[in-house]
Symmetry: C2
Subunit: 209 residues, 2 copies
């Protein structure tokens, strides 16, 4: 009944990436970052991400290696968790986890006067050898990871630090980028659970190549 | 251990909305649209949404009434589903549903050569009196809703039409806005599961006032 010419589903993604590449024009990126930057633009239709994603300390190489080794990806929200492609995780023998609604986390966050997201990171870090952390929402989660890293309690394979927002967000990202760990951070206010999931999904596609 | 002054969690959201209001400056919106537009900006840090959200046919009034009556909110993705606040849904006696990974949907989509998202809408529409549909990803889902409405098979309380992307997306939204049903659409390429969830969450806050 629909009158417009619909491009068939199987072609949509490839065509979308062609259009993104056309719009980016002469802009180039390091080869290993390209797939990630374009997938974030694909998920947001926001070309600001061509300029604001910062890759630190062999982020892509370290993240891809961890995924190939079957690591766990810890997210701060159920949305980011839901957005990470389960099929590709399974192919890699990797897993995802989110402790935001864990009863222990809820209880201890209340008792300690910290955010649930921060407490969820504390819990995840207790058993997090070679893990990837994907933070799309809570700057307090990113700051907790920083505290754990500085205290020598955590050595992540990669931290995707893309919380979004107007309070504490820019500051948390700037502080995190001073650390000597692999990270992918969206400078400024922008980011989100969708962006965090897109970055993990792009890394998985690299790992499956 | 963190050196920056962290605004306490309970104040973050209120302060964020104050900052958004400051940045918007003299820009004003109809009273009932304000909370929705600001919450979408809060979730994306993207002020383009101050200009691209279109409200058709008493969208807010109709959506809020349906939520107060305990309607079901049908989403196209698990991400949008995860992003809709369950506590507030429960307070309203409302529910959320997503059929994208329903075995029947997967089978029939394959057999019919259509997207799973479109088939999921077809299934949802069979029992959708007074429902709200929230589409953050798939333009094919929006076009399927349009076909069902034109065929007299569906009369939704509200359609949140905010798929994101580069192929079929702008066209699907433009076609949808010709319909005589309550809708909230993000004109252009932008949108996303996070935006769809934010709009539903904002409507619930209106309904709970």
């Amino acid at each position: 009944m629909t009158e417009i010419t619909i491009i068939e589903p199987a072609r949509i993604e490839a065509r979308s990436f062609e259009i993104i590449t056309e719009i980016l024009g002469n802009k180039t990126f390091p080869a290993e970052q390209q797939g990630i930057i374009k997938r974030v633009i694909h998920t947001s239709a926001d070309f600001d991400y061509a300029d604001n994603l910062v890759f630190g300390h062999n982020a892509v190489k370290s993240g891809v290696a961890a995924l190939k080794a079957g690591c766990t990806v810890v997210t701060d929200t159920r949305m980011a968790f839901a957005g990470i492609n389960q099929k590709n995780l399974s192919k890699l023998g990797a897993a995802k986890a989110c402790f935001i609604d864990d009863p222990q986390v809820m209880e201890q966050a209340k008792a300690g006067g910290v955010t649930r997201a921060a407490m969820a990171m504390e819990l995840a870090a207790r058993d997090a050898k070679n893990s990837i952390f994907a933070i799309g929402n809570a700057p307090t989660a990113l700051l907790m990871l920083r505290d754990l890293i500085l205290a020598g309690k955590l050595s992540p394979a990669l931290v995707v630090g893309v919380p979004v927002g107007f309070v504490n967000v820019v500051e948390a990202k700037e502080l995190f980028m001073e650390l000597n760990v692999p990270y992918i951070v969206a400078k400024g206010r922008k980011g989100g659970s969708n962006v965090a999931a897109a970055i993990i999904n792009a890394l998985m596609l690299e790992a499956l190549k």
